[in-house]
């Protein structure tokens, strides 16, 4: 991309952004700003088309080249196509497939994480330093706060667990949040003045 083109792209982002900021702080041209805000929603719709095209091309390429484990690529494309067609022509069957296959599979997959967590607890948490010990004690107290059994054992557990969540953890989260906000403002200003051009390959 030529330097002029890059500048043009940067400007094309900066002008609508400034327009929205202007509307936000002044309260003027609200309707036009709302229209601009709706643009990314339209763009996001196009990104789905792009995603579908990339997904299909990637998997079909692997199938045609007979790469390792290509039958799985074929299953991925076939599953997508079948679900897509069902959504268009047989809504009730599509709903059945989503409720009884997609949701169930996704939930089962997520549930595996808890098993890995237990293995992780067993293998990766050895109190080799005082800091690890502190982390471990905090984790135990927060778990006793989250589960009803904590309060059944001692009313002190929920109080301590809540304190850990509210004060040390809450403070850290506040810091992270402020850091993110400052970062976003910095990125926005850099984009506006043309310093941030990584998204146009600059």
């Amino acid at each position: 991309m030529s330097e002029i083109m890059r500048k043009a792209v940067v400007l094309s982002f900066a002008i609508p952004a400034l327009f929205i900021v202007f509307s936000y702080y002044t309260g003027a041209v609200k309707s036009e700003a709302a229209r601009l805000i709706a643009w990314p929603v339209t763009l996001a719709n196009f990104s789905i088309i792009l995603g579908v095209a990339t997904f299909t091309r990637y998997h079909l390429e692997r199938v045609t080249k007979r790469t390792e484990q290509w039958p799985f690529n074929l299953i991925a494309v076939a599953s997508f196509m079948i679900t897509f067609v069902l959504a268009l022509v047989a809504k009730s069957t599509y709903d059945y497939v989503v409720s009884n296959v997609v949701i169930v599979l996704q939930i089962s997959l997520m549930s595996f994480i808890s098993f890995y967590n237990f293995t992780l607890f067993y293998r990766a948490t050895r109190v080799r330093t005082a800091e690890v010990g502190l982390l471990l004690v905090s984790a135990i107290l927060v778990m006793l706060w989250m589960a009803p059994v904590g309060e059944a054992v001692s009313p002190a557990f929920p109080t301590i667990g809540k304190w850990i969540n509210d004060i040390p953890s809450g403070g850290a989260m506040r810091g992270i949040l402020i850091g993110i906000a400052v970062g976003i403002i910095g990125l926005f200003v850099r984009s506006l003045i043309g310093y941030e051009r990584s998204y146009v390959g600059g």
Binding site: R35, S47, D95, I103, L109, L136, M146, A147, P148
Partner: protein, 283 residues
């Protein structure tokens, strides 16, 4: 000398004990008491506090993954909202911005729980509630929902143009909305787009990310929140719509106890061995 378990068998043993422990409450109800926290009470009262004929914008931004934890609470929230629609004419706008999962789940709640449960009796789609479906764009869609709904949602979940939906004629932006709410894994994105609008905003958030809700809550931007599955169980208790979250509480307690045991026992053995080694070397 006792035979030592291989790492694979150690994992298997942990998994078997875990499965047995979480299955136990389905056979034997322990029924540990579940105190309802002020956050859940406030969540309930904030929803109850919506004026008659008021408008609630509820964004179901859950994935199938978070559904395991927050799904049951979401069903209770929908039931509560629909019961308010029946009793006090509150109008409900449901949308999804994060990904398509939320729209599917939202539709399935209405189809599988609300309509068969009689919560939509006397209500009419398009007049009392509307499902906008998935509005791709996440933060942009969240902002669009409060600046101009008609510009970001051209049609509802079923493809009906938004201008043909009667109740949407006088619902255009945040000025027409009385309560904002969302459920899911994240909060910062919502705070950035919904913060400072001066409307009550309630959140049902995963326990994994609940600490993120704290700064927003402290500043009064988030009115109140439900803390993961436990918060959902408390809310189920408050509304009386008991579901999976309530029954999962015993399993959660036993699962957490196992996690604590797995954290403590190997560490106690590790420290004991370390102490023994040290005392042997000093001798």
């Amino acid at each position: 000398m006792s035979p030592k378990l291989s790492p694979l068998n150690q994992d298997r043993l942990i998994f078997i004990v875990y499965i047995l422990l979480i299955a136990l409450p389905s056979l034997l109800v322990v029924g540990l008491p579940l105190p309802v926290t002020s956050l859940a009470k406030s969540f309930h009262s904030t929803i109850e506090g919506v004026r008659d004929r008021g408008v609630v914008l509820w964004v179901t931004d859950q994935t199938f993954g978070t559904w395991v934890e927050l799904g049951s609470g979401e069903i209770a929230i929908y039931k509560h909202l629909f019961s308010l629609a029946q009793r006090r004419g509150i109008r409900l706008v449901f949308a999804t911005t994060y990904n398509a999962d939320g729209a599917v789940l939202s539709a399935s709640i209405v189809q599988d729980h609300i309509i068969p449960g009689g919560f939509a009796k006397g209500l009419k789609y398009g007049e009392n509630w509307v499902q906008l479906g998935w509005l791709p764009g996440w933060e942009a869609s969240l902002r669009g929902l409060v600046t101009d709904i008609h510009k970001v949602a051209r049609a509802d979940y079923f493809g009906t143009p938004i201008e043909k939906i009667p109740m949407m004629k006088d619902i255009t932006s945040v000025k027409d909305i009385d309560l904002l709410g969302h459920s899911g894994y994240y909060i910062d994105e919502y705070g950035r787009q919904w913060g400072g609008l001066g409307k009550p905003w309630v959140v049902s958030i995963s326990a994994t990310t609940v600490a993120m809700a704290k700064p927003w809550f402290e500043k009064g931007i988030v009115t109140t929140y439900l803390n993961g599955q436990r918060g959902c169980a408390e809310y189920e208790a408050l509304t009386g719509y008991r579901g999976l979250a309530t029954s999962a509480m015993d399993a959660q307690s036993l699962g957490h106890l196992l996690a604590i045991a797995i954290l403590i026992v190997p560490n106690a053995l590790y420290l004991a061995r370390k102490g023994l080694r040290r005392s042997n070397s000093t001798r």
